[in-house]
Point group: C2
Chain length 291, copies 2
């Protein structure tokens, strides 16, 4: 029996899930109509088209960019520390006549100078049991590190890693002629270690050129070294307790790189969880926290 | 009377100077035929075209990319610590029948994994008296910080600042719609202070987006904040004695930004020297160090 229709409506993708009595995913549908391409008045129609036949079965709870100012309806940010009850208390309702609600995003601090996220907060709350302390890493264009303690998000930080990787390759001298990453573990490890030993990443970027000129990096190795540097810079900045469990949420290839880097940095308990499982559990937990 | 013909042959520019008995610049000519556009066999002809009428007056000493592997003739790197006598002992001679010599570049360490420069070493040696300790900052596409002590270059580091500034603007989401830097001192200062307080520059880059969304940065302010972040990251990495004299060598507008950032970081003795004066003095000093 369907307990909840869980929706993860990101910028570039829509995922609708039927969730069972324990929050498990019974069925899912994926559609490319992400929130980034939709105007506010088209969300309802898209949801009906993708999963209209499911919507009568259970209430609908949506996480992600559908709740941004440019989304369906703005669900204003909740501030850290943010737990499931705090998010549940601030759900937005985009339409009056249907049981559809949107999870608010989370902001680090109230003054607007900190950091913000939409969607990852729901994954993070799904990843850890209420009594657990841990760290979620969500690699991607903008990689997020989220600290969870006692069922609440206590802090988080966004790194421009994926986008910077692409920008350095596309628009700099050191990126010119750079090959594809993924095949040179030793070069990746060297990048991670250099960033861990010294946070001066803008100097290390020039080091790619120096090593290439010295014949120490071939074009593909240079890409792996760059990837290692940028991921290593995240690890250097997130100098947290290495004994805490870390859950990596993300696409296979990049998640494997983060796992490798986390091991190099001495994190002992690293595991991987699919984004779908994380968001489904988080939606279910927030739903259950409704008064 | 001309004592030396000093030449600064960079990647994108050629500067030929007649230097007097004290190393002062008596006259100069500038040409756009930088070393980056020339093949090895065309350097001699270009030098004759630009200053053939001067070349008989005195010996010629060249600093810069003319001595790189892709230049006129390779003048292999000298390693740190490098002083005027050390460079003078390793001058390269591109032609057998004329008194033309090229100053070698300097490498930080022998294994090819450190850092390298060509041209800035000559400026740095020109900026400080043999007994002085100080720091040269040469802003630009690849900004160099060079430590000089007792007449020798003891260390240096290259930051990808200028190129990264351009790449972030051209090829990232936060760069989209970014305006022009230079007009928002407060935004620049905020960027410098944030980078000084925490070296996680790849996280601070995302902060530009957060501040912009919160209405804290307009498009021009965002460009100044980015500039402040990247320059601040250099200062954070160069945690040197704030009482040492710092000489900034570079183009007016960008040098003024560095001076502002250096003052924010607590450097008490900051002055500006033109690149021409610096390289002329350095060439003269290296010439005088010949046995």
């Amino acid at each position: 029996m369907t307990e909840l229709i869980g929706v993860d409506w990101g910028t570039s993708n829509l995922r609708v899930m039927r969730l069972g009595a324990e929050g498990q995913v019974l069925d899912r549908r994926v559609d490319p109509r992400g929130a980034g391409r939709l105007s506010a008045d088209s969300f309802a129609g898209v949801l009906d088209e993708v999963a209209g036949d499911w919507l009568g079965e259970a209430p609908v709870l949506i996480a992600g960019m559908a709740g941004s100012r440019q989304g369906w309806i703005e669900a204003p940010y909740v501030f850290c520390p943010a737990n499931a009850a705090g998010l549940a208390a601030q759900l937005a309702r985009p339409v009056a006549d249907r049981d559809i609600r949107i999870v608010p995003g989370v902001a680090l601090i109230p003054n607007g100078l900190g950091d913000v996220m939409r969607g990852e907060e729901t994954q993070a709350l799904g990843l850890f049991e209420p009594g657990e302390t841990g760290l979620m890493v969500a690699p991607g264009t903008h990689c997020k590190w989220i600290h969870v303690e006692g069922g609440a998000i206590t802090g988080f930080r966004t790194f421009l890693t994926g986008e910077l990787f692409a920008a350095v390759r596309e628009a700099t001298l050191i990126g010119r002629g750079m090959g594809q990453p993924g095949g040179h573990d030793a070069a990746f490890d060297d990048g991670v270690r250099l960033a861990l030993s010294d946070p001066a990443v803008t100097a290390h970027l020039f080091n790619i050129r120096v090593r290439s000129l010295a014949g120490q990096l071939d074009p593909d190795g240079a890409a792996d070294f760059l990837s290692g540097l940028l991921i290593g810079a995240e690890l250097a900045a997130e100098a947290t307790d290495r004994a805490s469990p870390v859950r990596v949420v993300g696409e296979e290839q990049v998640a494997a790189r983060y796992e490798r880097a986390l091991a190099l940095a001495g994190f002992a308990q690293v595991s991987r969880v699919s984004g779908e499982v994380a968001v489904a559990r988080g939606l279910y937990r927030i739903w259950k926290a409704l008064p």
